[in-house]
Structures are given as structure tokens and as C-alpha cells.
Symmetry: C2
Amino acid sequence: MPSLTSVLGALDPTSDRAVFRQIADRLREAIDKGRFKEGDKLPSETELVEHFGVSRMTVRNALALLQQEGLAVSEHGKGVFVRPRPPVRRLASDRFARRHRDQGKSAFTVEAEAAGSRPEVDSLEVKEERPSQDIAARLGSPRKVLARRRRYLLDGRPVEFATSYLPLDLARDTPIAQPNPGPGGIYARLEEMGHRLDHFDEEIRARMPSPAEVRTLHLASGVPVIHLIRTAFDAEGRAVEVCDTVMAADAYVLSYQLPAT
Amino acid sequence: MPSLTSVLGALDPTSDRAVFRQIADRLREAIDKGRFKEGDKLPSETELVEHFGVSRMTVRNALALLQQEGLAVSEHGKGVFVRPRPPVRRLASDRFARRHRDQGKSAFTVEAEAAGSRPEVDSLEVKEERPSQDIAARLGSPRKVLARRRRYLLDGRPVEFATSYLPLDLARDTPIAQPNPGPGGIYARLEEMGHRLDHFDEEIRARMPSPAEVRTLHLASGVPVIHLIRTAFDAEGRAVEVCDTVMAADAYVLSYQLPAT
DNA sequence: GACGCATACTCGTATAGACGAGTGGGCAAG
DNA sequence: CTTGCCCACTCGTCTATACGAGTATGCGTC
């Protein structure tokens, strides 16, 4: 095992860069150069204190920086580790095409199994609710909506939390109000009910998660979320569903194809 | 001015929740309830120390939490402030449609002025380079590429940093290799040169910024970036351009329209 | 009025020490 | 061999203190 000095070097006492930033720089360089690989344990706080000759709080500041950048994660009682890059799920823009809608399983399940992962759906909840102002505006101001909430997991890891909202007059007493709406999901049911889908609008934002989102998605610090709001329109131009999705950003790549016309 | 106690309450000494988390919770609640509005100054560290009866490091831990969540920003010598939500730029999926390409100005400029903002383009750099492995793969493995780098600002604030890569055999000694490629931008020039554009692929990721990105985009802590990689394909199916864009996530909403077919 | 300076306030950085709590290995008792 | 405990090591939380550096304000001088 190479000495810490050869891996991390020493500080520059003449630099006006804060000591904890210099330490973070050294660790970042070492990670970038592959001296520490994904999942590797970084030197313990005590080792770094001794190596750089600084106090523990200074070392902790440096490690906190790396965690904010999403480069490292700490585990109580074990150490600080280079954050592993999880396998990402690619969402293609044709994922809601009609031809994908005839299977018996949900789009998430089919796609995940094809990618060799073990999919799960979790904490399913179907409720009638008063819509928030934003959701109401997107759906044409219905007084009440049907909300379908669920969490998706890949290989046991939660990756996405989604809520679908439908105007209650449209969804009440239909298979859509059942926990399992049947093959092809609610989009297939909507089309059977005469709402031929025309197009989807998707709005994408990225931000840091709220504490609640950190809990439900088990997010490490330094991992943002992608917030996607999809509105489905039928052939008459009516908004028939809004789906509000929060995804762990380190688990997703979104992919869209745009015509150049 | 209401007393701190009425705004923040007190700690629960029986709770096993860490004190600095409780303080962060109180501040977060107060912000959510509108007791502190966007841009408002939070109580100073000293005031919080006195109010909660804890040490300064504990207060700083609490404030650091809020900053990681993107809720607050600190300004040296001034205080800690509720982070203002900047105006966002909406990127529509038809922003590269041919009909938007006949103006004398760039798409960014036209759109920003329409939204009432003052657009700037910055640190323009045009160079011939050896492509990275990823860029090369996307462009069909050219030996060299033309790279066009630039930074975009709105009302003086940097919001986006983009690099376009084109195969050198396609772009050398054309207006595309000029700092200003002319009206309609490089897409108009590509079409004039016989590369009729057919479609674009866009890949979207979100992550925390690297230190370099923090500098060029002047990012506050707790602000992720959206990383967009767009590939332009001509009618023959050849990839003629890859544009790698890093955006301040708090300044953007991406919007796509998908057919339901 | 314009300028410069002192000052008081802000957050930033760093030290030293203490105790708590999760993890894992070794060792002794059964 | 298995069980259970202890211990060493890890990070988490918290206190107390000190000095540095950026900002704003007021005041006195020019």
C-alpha cells in the first residue's frame, strides 16, 4: 500500500487557499487520477489529521466539501468512501409510444427487466384529493382529482417517486381508480375510455431534494433530484393526466429526440 | 419586528434529533411559512447562538444544511439570506425549429430579449482539438474536431456554458470556424452547406457542479447543474454536431413535447 | 460635499477537547 | 463451535475560543 504522502502530497503553506479546500483538492485529484476508485475507503479522519498536521474539524470540512460535490459518502462507524456511480436508467422519449403499451406489465417493470435489474413498485396509494393550485391549473381546474402515488425501486434501491393526477369526473369508478389498473397502465385505460392520447408535455427541473425526498429516495448528500412534470393531452386537447415525478438524479439519464423541422 | 422566539420557537431537549438539525428545521419551517421571504436576511449566527443557547459551530452546521438544500446563501460580511428564486429560462423543444432560424441574432439573444432580459455571450473561443473519447464516439470518430465554446449570461448572471463540436473536415474553412458564424447560427450554415438537419438527440443529466463549473457559472452552494448533450443529425443520418451544455439548474426549466403515437 | 478612517458587525477559518454511537474483530466463557 | 462481550476504530455531535476578512456606517477631516 502506497504511503499517504505519495498519494496526497502535502499542503502549500504559502497559498492563501483555505487549508480545508487544499485538502479537498488533494483528495479530489487522487480520486480523479484513480488512486482511489469507486467504493474505495478514503483515509480516516484521524489519518488525515496526522498526515496534514491539522485539526479534525479542518479535515471534516474538507470531507464535507467532497460530499457536497457528490464525490464521496460517509458511513457512520465505517469510513468515508468514494461514491460509486450507480447504473443509470435511460428514459427514452418514445417510452410512452402506443406500441409499448400492450404488455401485461408496467413500462417500468418491462424496461428494468430488459436492463437486467430487479424492479419493484412500492407504497402504492390511490386517493381522491383536492388538487394543488398548480396541478389544478394544468388539468383545467377540476374541483377534485384522483391521485395515484407510487415509489419505484431498482434492485432494492428507491430511484423514483411519482404521483399521477386525473380529473375525478374522468377517473371515478373506472379501472384507473383501482390499485392495479391492468395491462398497459392508465394510458391504455384512458384510450379504451375514448380519450385517444395525442401528445405529452414534459417539464424538467433539477434541484436539491427536500428532507422528505431524501428520506423516501434514500439519497446520499450531494445527489440532486430531477423533477419531471408530464401532462397528457387527448385528441380534443384536454389535459387528462398530470404526472409529477421526482427522480434520484444519479440514477437517470433522460433522452429526447426532436425533429429539426 | 417579531421576536425570534415567536418566529423560531425553542428546541426540544428530549428529542434525539441532533440540535443542529432541529435548528435547521425551525429555520426551514419559518421560511416555508413565509416568515422569512426570498432575499430576507436570516438572524445572524450570533443571534441564533444567543436565542438557542448553543455554540456557534452548532448554528453554523444548521445554516450549512440549509445552504446544501439550496434554501439559503451566505454572504461574507453581510449575513445569511433566503435564496431568491431567480427568473427561469424556459427551453422549449421546438427551439431549434427551422422557422426560428432566420433572424439575424442567435436563438439565445432573441429569446432572452423577448422575455425582457439582457442577454450576453461571453468568452467565445473557437479551436481545433482532438476530441474526447465520448465526443468522438458520438461524431463517428473524427480525428480532429472544431470546438466552439461560449458562455451565456442573463442580466449579467452567467447561466450556461456550452461547447459545440463539429467534425473538422466538415467545418474547416467555413463560416462555422469564424467567431460569429452569421445569422441563424451554425445550424443555418450547416444547412446552406447541404447538411439538411433531420433531428436532434438530447441527453439530460443532473448532478452537482465541479469546482470549475462553480467558478464559471458563479453557482451558489446547493445549486445543481443540468448537463445536456445534444447531437444533431443530417438527413443522411450523419452526426454533424455535438453540443455539450452545462446549465445552472436554478435558471432553467426544460420543456419537451412528445407525440403519443 | 468628498474622502478616508475607525469601528462594529457579519461570516470564514482553524484549534483543542470531549463524549456519543455505529461497526467489526478478537477473545473468553459456555 | 457458538455465543456474548469488550475493545478499537470509525464518524457524529457539541463546546469554547481565537483570529482573519468582507461590509456598512458614521464621523471627522479636508
